[in-house]
Protein backbone atom coordinates (compact mmCIF):
# COMPACT_ATOMS: atom_id res chain seq x y z
CA UNK A 1 0.00 0.00 0.00
CA UNK A 2 1.96 2.96 -1.22
CA UNK A 3 0.15 5.52 0.78
CA UNK A 4 1.23 3.91 3.94
CA UNK A 5 4.83 3.92 2.98
CA UNK A 6 5.04 7.61 3.64
CA UNK A 7 3.98 7.54 7.20
CA UNK A 8 6.29 4.63 7.81
CA UNK A 9 9.22 6.79 6.92
CA UNK A 10 7.70 9.98 8.06
CA UNK A 11 7.14 8.73 11.56
CA UNK A 12 10.83 9.00 12.27
CA UNK A 13 10.85 12.56 11.14
CA UNK A 14 7.70 13.22 13.05
CA UNK A 15 9.18 11.80 16.19
CA UNK A 16 12.11 14.08 15.85
CA UNK A 17 9.99 17.10 15.17
CA UNK A 18 7.60 16.36 17.95
CA UNK A 19 10.52 15.77 20.26
CA UNK A 20 12.00 19.01 19.09
CA UNK A 21 8.79 20.57 20.15
CA UNK A 22 9.36 18.90 23.46
CA UNK A 23 12.79 20.40 23.79
CA UNK A 24 11.78 23.81 22.56
CA UNK A 25 8.79 24.00 24.77
CA UNK A 26 10.28 22.42 27.82
CA UNK A 27 13.82 23.73 27.66
CA UNK A 28 12.97 26.23 30.37
CA UNK A 29 10.62 23.99 32.22
CA UNK A 30 11.07 22.77 35.70
CA UNK A 31 12.97 19.67 36.64
CA UNK A 32 10.47 18.47 39.14
CA UNK A 33 12.62 15.90 40.79
CA UNK A 34 15.18 18.57 41.56
CA UNK A 35 12.57 20.98 42.87
CA UNK A 36 10.94 18.36 45.02
CA UNK A 37 14.21 17.28 46.55
CA UNK A 38 15.35 20.84 47.08
CA UNK A 39 12.16 22.28 48.47
CA UNK A 40 10.25 19.22 49.65
CA UNK A 41 11.74 19.26 53.15
CA UNK A 42 10.75 22.89 53.74
CA UNK A 43 7.28 22.25 52.41
CA UNK A 44 6.96 19.17 54.57
CA UNK A 45 8.12 21.00 57.70
CA UNK A 46 5.58 23.75 57.16
CA UNK A 47 2.88 21.17 56.61
CA UNK A 48 3.95 19.22 59.65
CA UNK A 49 3.89 22.32 61.85
CA UNK A 50 0.40 23.11 60.70
CA UNK A 51 -0.96 19.59 60.79
CA UNK A 52 1.02 17.89 63.52
CA UNK A 53 1.48 14.46 62.01
CA UNK A 54 3.46 12.74 59.32
CA UNK A 55 0.60 11.25 57.34
CA UNK A 56 -1.14 14.55 56.77
CA UNK A 57 2.16 16.32 56.15
CA UNK A 58 3.02 13.77 53.45
CA UNK A 59 -0.38 14.21 51.86
CA UNK A 60 -0.17 17.97 52.09
CA UNK A 61 3.27 17.97 50.49
CA UNK A 62 1.87 16.04 47.52
CA UNK A 63 -0.99 18.49 47.19
CA UNK A 64 1.40 21.42 47.32
CA UNK A 65 3.54 20.16 44.46
CA UNK A 66 0.55 19.14 42.39
CA UNK A 67 -0.83 22.65 42.84
CA UNK A 68 2.59 23.98 41.86
CA UNK A 69 2.40 22.02 38.62
CA UNK A 70 -0.85 23.75 37.81
CA UNK A 71 0.59 27.15 38.64
CA UNK A 72 3.74 26.54 36.62
CA UNK A 73 1.68 25.60 33.58
CA UNK A 74 -0.17 28.84 33.85
CA UNK A 75 2.65 31.24 34.52
CA UNK A 76 6.38 31.42 34.85
CA UNK A 77 7.49 30.79 38.41
CA UNK A 78 10.19 33.25 39.41
CA UNK A 79 10.45 32.43 43.08
CA UNK A 80 9.91 28.79 43.89
CA UNK A 81 10.51 29.03 47.65
CA UNK A 82 7.91 31.79 47.98
CA UNK A 83 5.37 29.98 45.83
CA UNK A 84 5.84 26.71 47.67
CA UNK A 85 5.71 28.38 51.06
CA UNK A 86 2.44 30.01 50.13
CA UNK A 87 1.02 26.79 48.71
CA UNK A 88 2.14 24.90 51.82
CA UNK A 89 0.16 27.23 53.99
CA UNK A 90 -2.82 27.22 51.65
CA UNK A 91 -2.97 23.46 51.38
CA UNK A 92 -2.21 23.02 55.07
CA UNK A 93 -5.06 25.33 56.01
CA UNK A 94 -7.29 23.49 53.62
CA UNK A 95 -6.35 20.24 55.30
CA UNK A 96 -7.04 21.70 58.74
CA UNK A 97 -10.44 22.89 57.59
CA UNK A 98 -11.27 19.51 56.13
CA UNK A 99 -10.43 17.99 59.46
CA UNK A 100 -12.71 20.45 61.17
CA UNK A 101 -15.53 19.53 58.80
CA UNK A 102 -14.95 15.88 59.56
CA UNK A 103 -13.81 15.10 56.05
CA UNK A 104 -10.55 13.88 57.48
CA UNK A 105 -10.73 11.22 60.06
CA UNK A 106 -10.03 13.07 63.28
CA UNK A 107 -9.71 16.35 65.01
CA UNK A 108 -6.61 17.76 66.56
CA UNK A 109 -6.90 15.69 69.70
CA UNK A 110 -6.59 12.05 68.81
CA UNK A 111 -4.45 12.49 65.74
CA UNK A 112 -2.16 14.88 67.54
CA UNK A 113 -1.66 12.52 70.38
CA UNK A 114 -0.77 9.74 67.96
CA UNK A 115 1.63 11.96 66.14
CA UNK A 116 3.19 13.22 69.28
CA UNK A 117 3.68 9.77 70.64
CA UNK A 118 5.44 8.75 67.46
CA UNK A 119 7.52 11.81 66.72
CA UNK A 120 8.05 13.84 69.85
CA UNK A 121 9.56 13.01 73.21
CA UNK A 122 6.76 13.02 75.80
CA UNK A 123 8.22 15.84 77.84
CA UNK A 124 8.51 18.05 74.77
CA UNK A 125 5.00 17.20 73.77
CA UNK A 126 3.70 18.12 77.16
CA UNK A 127 5.41 21.47 76.97
CA UNK A 128 4.38 22.61 73.57
CA UNK A 129 1.47 20.54 72.50
CA UNK A 130 -1.46 22.17 74.18
CA UNK A 131 -1.46 25.70 72.84
CA UNK A 132 -0.36 24.51 69.41
CA UNK A 133 -3.27 22.10 69.28
CA UNK A 134 -5.65 24.89 70.23
CA UNK A 135 -4.17 27.13 67.59
CA UNK A 136 -4.68 24.47 64.90
CA UNK A 137 -8.22 24.00 66.03
CA UNK A 138 -8.80 27.75 65.92
CA UNK A 139 -7.17 28.23 62.52
CA UNK A 140 -9.51 25.65 61.07
CA UNK A 141 -12.41 27.78 62.16
CA UNK A 142 -11.29 30.98 60.51
CA UNK A 143 -12.25 31.74 56.97
CA UNK A 144 -9.71 30.25 54.61
CA UNK A 145 -8.40 33.64 53.50
CA UNK A 146 -8.03 34.86 57.09
CA UNK A 147 -6.24 31.68 58.10
CA UNK A 148 -3.94 31.87 55.10
CA UNK A 149 -2.96 35.45 55.75
CA UNK A 150 -2.41 35.00 59.45
CA UNK A 151 -0.28 31.89 58.87
CA UNK A 152 1.77 33.52 56.15
CA UNK A 153 2.43 36.40 58.52
CA UNK A 154 3.02 34.66 61.81
CA UNK A 155 4.11 31.20 60.83
CA UNK A 156 6.00 31.81 57.61
CA UNK A 157 6.98 35.29 58.84
CA UNK A 158 6.33 36.92 55.52
CA UNK A 159 6.08 40.70 55.34
CA UNK A 160 2.85 42.47 54.47
CA UNK A 161 4.30 43.26 51.07
CA UNK A 162 5.24 39.66 50.40
CA UNK A 163 1.79 38.47 51.40
CA UNK A 164 0.28 41.17 49.26
CA UNK A 165 2.26 40.01 46.26
CA UNK A 166 1.67 36.31 46.74
CA UNK A 167 -2.05 36.60 47.30
CA UNK A 168 -2.48 39.51 44.91
CA UNK A 169 -4.28 41.70 47.40
CA UNK A 170 -3.38 45.17 48.61
CA UNK A 171 -1.08 45.72 51.56
CA UNK A 172 -3.88 47.55 53.30
CA UNK A 173 -6.14 44.57 52.82
CA UNK A 174 -3.49 42.35 54.36
CA UNK A 175 -3.53 44.55 57.43
CA UNK A 176 -7.31 44.46 57.63
CA UNK A 177 -7.37 40.70 57.37
CA UNK A 178 -4.67 40.28 59.97
CA UNK A 179 -6.39 42.52 62.44
CA UNK A 180 -9.67 40.68 61.94
CA UNK A 181 -8.06 37.27 62.06
CA UNK A 182 -6.12 38.00 65.24
CA UNK A 183 -9.27 39.12 66.98
CA UNK A 184 -11.13 36.02 65.93
CA UNK A 185 -8.24 33.76 66.84
CA UNK A 186 -7.98 35.35 70.25
CA UNK A 187 -11.61 34.62 70.91
CA UNK A 188 -11.36 31.06 69.67
CA UNK A 189 -8.22 30.30 71.65
CA UNK A 190 -9.78 31.59 74.83
CA UNK A 191 -12.95 29.67 74.12
CA UNK A 192 -11.01 26.45 73.53
CA UNK A 193 -8.88 27.13 76.59
CA UNK A 194 -11.96 27.58 78.72
CA UNK A 195 -13.47 24.35 77.38
CA UNK A 196 -10.35 22.42 78.22
CA UNK A 197 -9.62 24.31 81.39
Amino acid sequence: MPAFGVPRKAILCCKAIVRCDYICEYAGMTAWDTIIHEHGPAVWRTAYRLLGNRGDADECMQEVFVAAVVVSRREEVRNWPALLQMLSVLRGIDCLRRRARGVLRDDDGSRLSQAVSRDVPPDVAAQNGELTARLRWALARLSSRDAEVVCLRYMSEMTYEEISQELQISVRHVGVILSRAREKLRELLKERGADHG
Binding site: A3, V6, P41, W44, Q62, V71, D119, L131, L178, L189
Partner: protein, 439 residues
Protein backbone atom coordinates in the same frame (compact mmCIF):
# COMPACT_ATOMS: atom_id res chain seq x y z
CA UNK B 1 -3.06 49.26 59.17
CA UNK B 2 -0.01 48.15 61.13
CA UNK B 3 0.19 45.79 64.04
CA UNK B 4 1.53 46.93 67.33
CA UNK B 5 4.96 45.33 67.62
CA UNK B 6 4.77 45.38 71.39
CA UNK B 7 1.41 43.75 71.57
CA UNK B 8 1.84 40.16 72.59
CA UNK B 9 -1.07 37.98 73.48
CA UNK B 10 -2.26 34.46 73.24
CA UNK B 11 -2.18 34.59 69.43
CA UNK B 12 1.49 35.48 69.41
CA UNK B 13 2.23 32.88 72.04
CA UNK B 14 0.40 30.30 69.98
CA UNK B 15 2.37 31.07 66.84
CA UNK B 16 5.62 31.28 68.82
CA UNK B 17 4.90 27.80 70.07
CA UNK B 18 3.89 26.59 66.63
CA UNK B 19 7.05 27.91 65.01
CA UNK B 20 9.19 26.44 67.76
CA UNK B 21 7.37 23.14 67.93
CA UNK B 22 9.36 19.99 67.41
CA UNK B 23 9.40 18.75 63.83
CA UNK B 24 10.82 15.29 63.29
CA UNK B 25 13.16 14.37 60.47
CA UNK B 26 11.28 14.31 57.25
CA UNK B 27 9.96 13.83 54.74
CA UNK B 28 10.75 10.20 54.14
CA UNK B 29 12.26 9.14 50.84
CA UNK B 30 9.08 7.24 50.16
CA UNK B 31 6.99 10.38 50.67
CA UNK B 32 9.24 12.30 48.28
CA UNK B 33 8.96 9.58 45.69
CA UNK B 34 5.20 9.50 46.03
CA UNK B 35 5.16 13.25 45.60
CA UNK B 36 7.25 12.97 42.47
CA UNK B 37 4.86 10.38 41.10
CA UNK B 38 1.90 12.60 41.91
CA UNK B 39 3.62 15.48 40.15
CA UNK B 40 4.28 13.42 37.05
CA UNK B 41 0.69 12.33 37.01
CA UNK B 42 -0.44 15.92 37.45
CA UNK B 43 1.87 16.97 34.66
CA UNK B 44 0.27 14.51 32.34
CA UNK B 45 -3.15 15.79 33.30
CA UNK B 46 -1.96 19.35 33.19
CA UNK B 47 -0.59 18.82 29.75
CA UNK B 48 -4.11 18.09 28.69
CA UNK B 49 -4.34 21.81 28.44
CA UNK B 50 -4.61 20.43 24.95
CA UNK B 51 -2.18 19.68 22.30
CA UNK B 52 -3.82 22.08 19.96
CA UNK B 53 -3.55 24.84 22.51
CA UNK B 54 0.10 24.05 22.98
CA UNK B 55 0.62 24.18 19.27
CA UNK B 56 -1.28 27.42 19.10
CA UNK B 57 0.99 28.99 21.65
CA UNK B 58 4.20 27.85 20.06
CA UNK B 59 6.60 29.94 18.13
CA UNK B 60 5.66 30.07 14.47
CA UNK B 61 8.87 28.36 13.49
CA UNK B 62 7.78 25.17 15.11
CA UNK B 63 4.05 25.52 15.39
CA UNK B 64 2.99 24.14 12.08
CA UNK B 65 5.69 21.54 11.65
CA UNK B 66 4.63 20.20 14.98
CA UNK B 67 0.98 20.15 14.07
CA UNK B 68 1.81 18.41 10.86
CA UNK B 69 4.22 16.07 12.53
CA UNK B 70 1.65 14.97 15.01
CA UNK B 71 -0.75 14.37 12.19
CA UNK B 72 1.77 12.34 10.26
CA UNK B 73 2.91 10.45 13.31
CA UNK B 74 -0.63 9.61 14.12
CA UNK B 75 -1.29 8.40 10.64
CA UNK B 76 1.87 6.41 10.75
CA UNK B 77 0.73 4.98 14.01
CA UNK B 78 -2.50 3.94 12.42
CA UNK B 79 -2.33 3.05 8.81
CA UNK B 80 1.21 1.96 8.37
CA UNK B 81 1.08 -0.40 11.24
CA UNK B 82 -1.62 -2.45 9.71
CA UNK B 83 -0.08 -2.54 6.29
CA UNK B 84 3.58 -2.56 7.09
CA UNK B 85 4.76 -4.27 3.97
CA UNK B 86 7.09 -6.64 5.73
CA UNK B 87 4.76 -7.70 8.49
CA UNK B 88 3.64 -11.27 8.10
CA UNK B 89 -0.07 -11.64 8.46
CA UNK B 90 -0.67 -15.33 7.97
CA UNK B 91 -4.25 -14.98 8.94
CA UNK B 92 -6.20 -15.91 5.88
CA UNK B 93 -9.54 -14.50 6.88
CA UNK B 94 -8.16 -11.22 8.01
CA UNK B 95 -6.01 -11.14 4.93
CA UNK B 96 -9.01 -11.69 2.74
CA UNK B 97 -10.83 -8.83 4.38
CA UNK B 98 -7.92 -6.52 3.89
CA UNK B 99 -7.27 -7.64 0.34
CA UNK B 100 -10.72 -6.50 -0.58
CA UNK B 101 -10.29 -3.11 0.97
CA UNK B 102 -10.23 -0.06 -1.24
CA UNK B 103 -11.57 2.19 1.46
CA UNK B 104 -11.55 1.83 5.19
CA UNK B 105 -12.23 3.66 8.43
CA UNK B 106 -11.02 2.90 11.90
CA UNK B 107 -10.34 4.50 15.23
CA UNK B 108 -6.73 4.81 16.25
CA UNK B 109 -5.59 5.62 19.75
CA UNK B 110 -2.00 6.81 19.80
CA UNK B 111 -0.09 6.85 23.05
CA UNK B 112 3.35 8.36 22.70
CA UNK B 113 5.85 9.76 25.13
CA UNK B 114 5.73 13.05 23.33
CA UNK B 115 1.97 13.25 23.60
CA UNK B 116 0.68 14.33 26.95
CA UNK B 117 -2.37 12.13 26.70
CA UNK B 118 -3.65 9.45 24.38
CA UNK B 119 -4.73 10.87 21.07
CA UNK B 120 -7.86 9.35 19.64
CA UNK B 121 -8.50 9.72 15.95
CA UNK B 122 -11.09 8.72 13.46
CA UNK B 123 -9.20 7.71 10.36
CA UNK B 124 -10.34 7.37 6.76
CA UNK B 125 -8.37 5.75 3.95
CA UNK B 126 -8.96 5.58 0.29
CA UNK B 127 -6.69 3.98 -2.23
CA UNK B 128 -4.54 5.38 -3.68
CA UNK B 129 -2.84 7.39 -1.03
CA UNK B 130 -5.67 9.44 0.39
CA UNK B 131 -5.92 9.74 4.13
CA UNK B 132 -7.99 11.80 6.48
CA UNK B 133 -7.87 11.88 10.23
CA UNK B 134 -10.08 13.68 12.65
CA UNK B 135 -8.64 14.40 16.06
CA UNK B 136 -10.75 15.60 18.91
CA UNK B 137 -8.87 16.85 21.93
CA UNK B 138 -10.50 17.58 25.21
CA UNK B 139 -9.01 20.69 26.75
CA UNK B 140 -8.55 21.20 30.46
CA UNK B 141 -10.92 23.35 32.40
CA UNK B 142 -9.46 26.50 33.91
CA UNK B 143 -8.53 26.18 37.56
CA UNK B 144 -8.63 28.50 40.53
CA UNK B 145 -5.25 29.93 41.55
CA UNK B 146 -3.26 27.58 43.73
CA UNK B 147 -5.77 24.78 43.41
CA UNK B 148 -6.72 22.04 41.04
CA UNK B 149 -10.38 22.87 41.33
CA UNK B 150 -11.94 23.40 37.90
CA UNK B 151 -13.75 26.65 37.40
CA UNK B 152 -14.87 26.05 33.85
CA UNK B 153 -16.12 23.08 31.89
CA UNK B 154 -13.61 21.30 29.66
CA UNK B 155 -13.79 22.23 26.02
CA UNK B 156 -13.26 19.96 23.05
CA UNK B 157 -11.21 21.02 20.07
CA UNK B 158 -11.03 19.35 16.73
CA UNK B 159 -8.31 19.14 14.14
CA UNK B 160 -8.56 17.52 10.72
CA UNK B 161 -5.57 16.36 8.72
CA UNK B 162 -5.85 15.30 5.11
CA UNK B 163 -3.04 13.84 3.02
CA UNK B 164 -2.82 13.24 -0.68
CA UNK B 165 0.50 11.48 -0.90
CA UNK B 166 0.60 11.06 -4.66
CA UNK B 167 0.36 14.81 -5.03
CA UNK B 168 2.73 15.43 -2.12
CA UNK B 169 0.27 17.60 -0.38
CA UNK B 170 -1.47 17.72 2.94
CA UNK B 171 -3.55 20.11 4.97
CA UNK B 172 -4.33 20.55 8.63
CA UNK B 173 -7.57 22.29 9.54
CA UNK B 174 -8.59 23.70 12.89
CA UNK B 175 -12.27 24.45 12.28
CA UNK B 176 -12.91 26.30 15.52
CA UNK B 177 -10.24 28.81 14.65
CA UNK B 178 -10.82 28.67 10.90
CA UNK B 179 -7.15 28.07 10.36
CA UNK B 180 -5.54 25.91 7.74
CA UNK B 181 -1.94 24.82 7.33
CA UNK B 182 -1.06 23.53 3.91
CA UNK B 183 1.79 21.03 3.99
CA UNK B 184 4.05 20.63 1.04
CA UNK B 185 6.03 17.43 1.21
CA UNK B 186 9.13 18.37 -0.69
CA UNK B 187 11.75 15.94 -1.93
CA UNK B 188 9.77 12.98 -0.73
CA UNK B 189 11.90 9.83 -0.87
CA UNK B 190 11.62 8.40 -4.36
CA UNK B 191 10.41 4.94 -3.45
CA UNK B 192 7.65 6.36 -1.36
CA UNK B 193 6.47 8.63 -4.10
CA UNK B 194 6.77 5.95 -6.74
CA UNK B 195 4.81 3.56 -4.61
CA UNK B 196 2.11 6.11 -4.11
CA UNK B 197 1.74 6.62 -7.82
CA UNK B 198 1.75 2.98 -8.75
CA UNK B 199 -1.35 2.26 -6.72
CA UNK B 200 -0.07 -1.17 -5.84
CA UNK B 201 -1.98 -1.50 -2.64
CA UNK B 202 -2.86 -5.14 -3.01
CA UNK B 203 0.57 -6.21 -4.16
CA UNK B 204 2.18 -4.50 -1.24
CA UNK B 205 -0.28 -6.08 1.10
CA UNK B 206 0.31 -9.54 -0.27
CA UNK B 207 4.00 -9.08 0.33
CA UNK B 208 3.25 -8.05 3.85
CA UNK B 209 1.30 -11.20 4.45
CA UNK B 210 4.12 -13.46 3.35
CA UNK B 211 6.18 -13.03 6.49
CA UNK B 212 6.36 -14.94 9.74
CA UNK B 213 3.93 -14.69 12.59
CA UNK B 214 3.29 -16.06 16.04
CA UNK B 215 -0.09 -17.47 16.96
CA UNK B 216 -1.52 -15.64 19.97
CA UNK B 217 -4.52 -17.93 20.33
CA UNK B 218 -8.06 -16.84 20.97
CA UNK B 219 -9.74 -14.42 23.30
CA UNK B 220 -12.98 -12.52 23.63
CA UNK B 221 -13.28 -8.82 22.98
CA UNK B 222 -16.61 -7.20 23.77
CA UNK B 223 -18.29 -10.57 23.53
CA UNK B 224 -16.68 -11.44 20.20
CA UNK B 225 -14.37 -14.37 19.83
CA UNK B 226 -11.19 -13.26 18.12
CA UNK B 227 -7.99 -14.89 16.93
CA UNK B 228 -4.71 -13.17 17.33
CA UNK B 229 -1.39 -13.10 15.54
CA UNK B 230 1.80 -11.33 16.47
CA UNK B 231 3.59 -10.24 13.35
CA UNK B 232 7.19 -9.18 13.55
CA UNK B 233 8.19 -6.57 11.11
CA UNK B 234 11.42 -7.04 9.27
CA UNK B 235 11.41 -3.44 8.18
CA UNK B 236 13.79 -0.81 9.38
CA UNK B 237 11.46 0.15 12.18
CA UNK B 238 11.54 -3.34 13.72
CA UNK B 239 8.07 -2.97 15.07
CA UNK B 240 5.81 -5.78 16.17
CA UNK B 241 2.05 -5.76 16.11
CA UNK B 242 -0.72 -7.92 17.42
CA UNK B 243 -3.62 -8.38 15.04
CA UNK B 244 -6.89 -9.70 16.38
CA UNK B 245 -9.55 -10.72 13.87
CA UNK B 246 -13.09 -11.96 14.31
CA UNK B 247 -12.90 -15.74 14.59
CA UNK B 248 -15.96 -16.16 12.39
CA UNK B 249 -15.65 -13.48 9.73
CA UNK B 250 -11.99 -12.61 9.76
CA UNK B 251 -12.82 -8.95 10.07
CA UNK B 252 -10.09 -7.03 11.87
CA UNK B 253 -11.25 -6.18 15.38
CA UNK B 254 -8.19 -4.92 17.19
CA UNK B 255 -4.65 -4.14 16.16
CA UNK B 256 -2.11 -3.23 18.79
CA UNK B 257 1.22 -1.80 17.77
CA UNK B 258 4.19 -1.04 19.98
CA UNK B 259 6.23 1.84 18.66
CA UNK B 260 10.01 1.48 18.58
CA UNK B 261 12.40 2.77 21.21
CA UNK B 262 9.73 2.68 23.89
CA UNK B 263 7.96 5.61 22.32
CA UNK B 264 4.52 4.30 22.99
CA UNK B 265 1.82 2.30 21.31
CA UNK B 266 -1.09 2.52 18.91
CA UNK B 267 -4.37 0.73 19.29
CA UNK B 268 -6.72 0.44 16.33
CA UNK B 269 -10.36 -0.51 16.59
CA UNK B 270 -13.75 0.02 14.91
CA UNK B 271 -12.66 -1.20 11.49
CA UNK B 272 -15.07 -0.69 8.62
CA UNK B 273 -13.97 -2.13 5.29
CA UNK B 274 -15.02 -0.56 2.00
CA UNK B 275 -17.39 2.14 3.21
CA UNK B 276 -18.51 4.68 0.62
CA UNK B 277 -16.76 8.01 0.88
CA UNK B 278 -17.48 11.41 -0.53
CA UNK B 279 -14.34 12.65 -2.29
CA UNK B 280 -14.69 15.98 -0.54
CA UNK B 281 -13.46 14.24 2.60
CA UNK B 282 -10.02 14.16 1.01
CA UNK B 283 -9.95 17.66 -0.44
CA UNK B 284 -6.63 19.27 0.44
CA UNK B 285 -7.72 22.75 -0.64
CA UNK B 286 -8.29 25.18 2.23
CA UNK B 287 -11.97 25.89 2.84
CA UNK B 288 -13.20 29.38 2.16
CA UNK B 289 -12.85 31.82 5.01
CA UNK B 290 -9.88 30.04 6.55
CA UNK B 291 -6.64 31.78 7.39
CA UNK B 292 -4.06 29.81 5.45
CA UNK B 293 -0.38 29.24 6.13
CA UNK B 294 2.01 26.98 4.31
CA UNK B 295 4.61 24.66 5.74
CA UNK B 296 7.11 22.54 3.89
CA UNK B 297 8.65 19.26 4.84
CA UNK B 298 11.97 19.04 3.13
CA UNK B 299 13.74 15.72 3.07
CA UNK B 300 16.70 17.09 1.15
CA UNK B 301 19.10 17.86 3.99
CA UNK B 302 22.71 18.85 3.25
CA UNK B 303 25.52 17.05 5.03
CA UNK B 304 26.67 20.20 6.77
CA UNK B 305 23.35 20.41 8.58
CA UNK B 306 23.71 16.79 9.60
CA UNK B 307 27.19 17.43 11.00
CA UNK B 308 26.17 20.62 12.72
CA UNK B 309 23.24 18.89 14.36
CA UNK B 310 25.32 15.96 15.54
CA UNK B 311 27.83 18.39 16.98
CA UNK B 312 25.12 20.21 18.88
CA UNK B 313 23.97 16.96 20.45
CA UNK B 314 27.50 16.40 21.77
CA UNK B 315 27.83 20.00 22.87
CA UNK B 316 24.65 19.87 24.90
CA UNK B 317 25.59 16.48 26.32
CA UNK B 318 28.68 17.79 28.00
CA UNK B 319 31.07 17.16 25.13
CA UNK B 320 30.12 13.50 24.72
CA UNK B 321 27.98 12.07 21.97
CA UNK B 322 24.72 10.62 23.27
CA UNK B 323 23.34 7.19 22.66
CA UNK B 324 20.68 8.31 20.24
CA UNK B 325 20.37 11.43 18.15
CA UNK B 326 16.97 12.37 19.39
CA UNK B 327 15.89 14.98 21.90
CA UNK B 328 14.31 12.41 24.14
CA UNK B 329 12.57 13.42 27.35
CA UNK B 330 15.46 11.74 29.18
CA UNK B 331 17.89 13.97 27.38
CA UNK B 332 15.85 17.04 28.23
CA UNK B 333 15.89 16.06 31.87
CA UNK B 334 19.62 15.59 31.78
CA UNK B 335 20.10 18.99 30.23
CA UNK B 336 18.11 20.49 33.04
CA UNK B 337 20.03 18.60 35.68
CA UNK B 338 23.30 19.68 34.17
CA UNK B 339 21.89 23.22 34.25
CA UNK B 340 22.64 23.62 30.58
CA UNK B 341 20.61 26.56 29.49
CA UNK B 342 19.67 27.30 25.94
CA UNK B 343 18.29 30.53 24.67
CA UNK B 344 15.08 30.36 22.71
CA UNK B 345 17.05 30.66 19.51
CA UNK B 346 19.47 27.93 20.53
CA UNK B 347 16.71 25.54 21.48
CA UNK B 348 14.96 26.23 18.21
CA UNK B 349 18.13 25.68 16.26
CA UNK B 350 18.72 22.45 18.12
CA UNK B 351 15.18 21.32 17.42
CA UNK B 352 15.37 22.13 13.76
CA UNK B 353 18.71 20.39 13.32
CA UNK B 354 17.53 17.34 15.25
CA UNK B 355 14.63 16.99 12.83
CA UNK B 356 17.00 17.44 9.91
CA UNK B 357 19.17 14.60 11.16
CA UNK B 358 16.12 12.39 11.15
CA UNK B 359 15.04 13.57 7.74
CA UNK B 360 18.53 12.86 6.43
CA UNK B 361 18.38 9.37 7.83
CA UNK B 362 14.95 8.71 6.38
CA UNK B 363 15.90 10.00 2.97
CA UNK B 364 19.08 7.92 2.92
CA UNK B 365 17.50 4.70 4.08
CA UNK B 366 14.32 4.93 2.10
CA UNK B 367 16.39 5.33 -1.02
CA UNK B 368 17.98 1.96 -0.34
CA UNK B 369 21.08 3.39 1.30
CA UNK B 370 22.61 2.83 4.71
CA UNK B 371 22.80 5.03 7.75
CA UNK B 372 24.35 4.20 11.11
CA UNK B 373 25.08 6.10 14.28
CA UNK B 374 27.48 4.72 16.88
CA UNK B 375 28.62 7.79 18.75
CA UNK B 376 27.63 6.77 22.23
CA UNK B 377 30.30 7.80 24.70
CA UNK B 378 32.67 9.26 22.09
CA UNK B 379 34.14 12.57 23.10
CA UNK B 380 33.59 15.57 20.89
CA UNK B 381 36.92 16.27 19.25
CA UNK B 382 37.98 12.63 18.96
CA UNK B 383 39.35 12.65 15.44
CA UNK B 384 39.99 8.91 15.28
CA UNK B 385 36.61 7.47 16.19
CA UNK B 386 33.78 7.25 13.68
CA UNK B 387 30.47 8.29 15.13
CA UNK B 388 28.21 8.17 12.10
CA UNK B 389 28.35 6.85 8.57
CA UNK B 390 26.05 6.64 5.61
CA UNK B 391 26.05 5.46 2.04
CA UNK B 392 23.65 6.18 -0.77
CA UNK B 393 22.23 3.12 -2.52
CA UNK B 394 24.60 3.08 -5.48
CA UNK B 395 27.53 4.84 -3.87
CA UNK B 396 30.86 3.00 -3.82
CA UNK B 397 32.12 4.55 -0.62
CA UNK B 398 30.82 5.31 2.79
CA UNK B 399 30.80 8.82 4.11
CA UNK B 400 32.10 8.65 7.66
CA UNK B 401 31.85 11.40 10.27
CA UNK B 402 34.30 11.30 13.15
CA UNK B 403 34.20 12.60 16.71
CA UNK B 404 35.87 15.85 15.73
CA UNK B 405 33.11 16.26 13.09
CA UNK B 406 35.36 15.90 10.08
CA UNK B 407 34.08 13.65 7.28
CA UNK B 408 35.91 11.20 5.07
CA UNK B 409 35.05 8.82 2.25
CA UNK B 410 36.01 5.24 3.04
CA UNK B 411 35.49 1.99 1.18
CA UNK B 412 34.10 -0.15 3.97
CA UNK B 413 31.77 0.68 6.78
CA UNK B 414 33.42 1.10 10.17
CA UNK B 415 32.80 -1.64 12.69
CA UNK B 416 30.32 -0.59 15.34
CA UNK B 417 32.06 -0.69 18.71
CA UNK B 418 31.36 -3.76 20.83
CA UNK B 419 31.11 -1.59 23.89
CA UNK B 420 31.83 1.95 24.81
CA UNK B 421 31.47 3.66 28.13
CA UNK B 422 28.09 5.17 28.75
CA UNK B 423 27.88 8.88 28.22
CA UNK B 424 28.53 10.92 31.30
CA UNK B 425 25.64 11.73 33.58
CA UNK B 426 23.56 9.03 31.92
CA UNK B 427 22.97 11.08 28.87
CA UNK B 428 21.98 8.14 26.78
CA UNK B 429 19.12 5.73 26.92
CA UNK B 430 18.64 2.07 26.33
CA UNK B 431 20.69 0.78 23.43
CA UNK B 432 18.89 0.96 20.17
CA UNK B 433 19.92 -1.55 17.60
CA UNK B 434 18.15 0.43 14.95
CA UNK B 435 20.49 3.33 15.47
CA UNK B 436 23.78 1.53 15.81
CA UNK B 437 23.73 -0.99 13.02
CA UNK B 438 23.99 -0.06 9.42
CA UNK B 439 21.24 -1.26 7.23
Amino acid sequence: MVENPHQSDIVDEGFDELRGSHVPEGPSIQALEQTLQAVHQAQRKSNRVSLIERIKNMNKLIKYPVAAAIALAAIAGGAYLLWDRSAGIAFADVRQQIEQAQTMTMTATVEMKVLSKPMVMKMYFKSPGLMRQEITMEGNPATAPGTTQPTTAPTAQKAICIFDIANQRGITLIPDQKRATVMELKDLPADVLAGAKEQNFLEELKKAMAGEHEDLGEKTIDGRKVKGYRCKSTSAMKMAMDIWGDAASGKPVLVEQTLPEGMGKVTMTDFVINPKFDDSLFDTRPPEGYKVETQSFNFNVPEEDLIKGVGLFAKYCGGVFPEVLMPTPELVEQLKKAKIKMSKEESQEFGVLASKIMAFRIATMSGGGEFAYAGRGVKLGDKATPILWYKAKDAKTYRVIYGDLHAEDVETAPNPPASRPAPSAGLGQAPSGASTQPR
